[in-house]
């Protein structure tokens, strides 16, 4: 099975874990599966924060069904509080 490497940048409250991490997931994984892999990588203490967060590339928030079929640089965005 072909895998792809996701370089995930972490923001806000995720920074208490690390600033970025690398995930290996099957090619063709939807964003929802990548979010699940992120939750596993960070551990159960991050579960609620991951559920309240979204995955984005540098242009837009990606819907849960969006398929990742190549190595990618993504970001996880926890709840925002600009201003």
């Amino acid at each position: 099975m072909k895998t792809v490497t996701i370089t995930m940048r972490l923001y806000g409250a995720f920074r208490k874990y690390q600033d970025s991490l690398t995930l290996s997931v099957p090619a063709g994984s939807p964003v929802a599966a990548i979010k699940e892999a992120l939750g596993k990588a960070l551990g159960p203490q991050a579960k609620d924060l991951v559920m309240d967060s979204v995955i984005a590339d540098d242009r837009a928030i990606l819907p849960p069904g969006f398929v990742i079929d190549r190595d990618s640089s993504l970001s996880v965005l926890p709840p925002v509080c600009g201003g």
Partner: protein
């Protein structure tokens, strides 16, 4: 700085400049300029605050600022817009967000400026870490973007819920 047909947006580590914002929207056809200046306050929920670190997804934040201003322009097409957000650490009193909207009349200027700040609070990929006088610090809660990942058809443009801590 991004410019687009009467809109200027900026995400920066440099101090935000009120005069720059005012000049950016100046237009002889527009008789009113409304501004919102968000600054770091020295208290939150009973704690003494010494400063805030603003963590920002720079490219997405600039995109979203532009998108918000374009939405405003769709509603108030004669207005001109400037919207900027700071990235990094600010002491109390530092300017974190700066919005200016000019319009032919005050009503559009007030309403469009208000629209932009409320959308920023709900949508901009920015996260605040408050620093307290006792040396502790904490990330503030905020507005989840989970509904935005399905679609951008958010159901309303209601005012910010108030959980995120800096309602100037």
């Amino acid at each position: 700085m991004q410019n687009d047909n009467g809109i200027q947006v900026l995400v920066t580590k440099d101090p935000l400049d009120v005069r720059q914002a005012c000049a950016a929207v100046a237009d002889p056809a527009n008789g009113g300029i409304d501004m919102f200046v968000g600054v770091v306050r020295d208290n939150h929920l009973g704690q003494s605050v010494t400063g805030i670190t603003y963590d920002v997804h720079e490219t997405l934040a600039a995109e979203e600022l532009m998108k918000i201003c374009r939405e405003a322009q769709g509603i108030w097409p004669q207005a001109k817009y400037f919207a900027a957000h700071y990235q990094g650490y600010l002491d109390v009193g530092g300017i974190s967000v700066l919005i200016a909207a000019s319009a032919p009349h005050r009503e559009e200027a007030f309403e469009s400026c208000r629209y932009i700040i409320e959308e920023i609070k709900k949508r901009l990929p920015v996260w605040k870490k408050e620093h307290y006088i006792d040396g502790e610090s904490a990330w503030l809660p905020g507005h989840s973007l989970v509904s935005a990942e399905e679609d951008d058809d958010d159901d309303d443009h209601a005012a910010c819920c108030g959980r995120c801590g800096t309602h100037g």
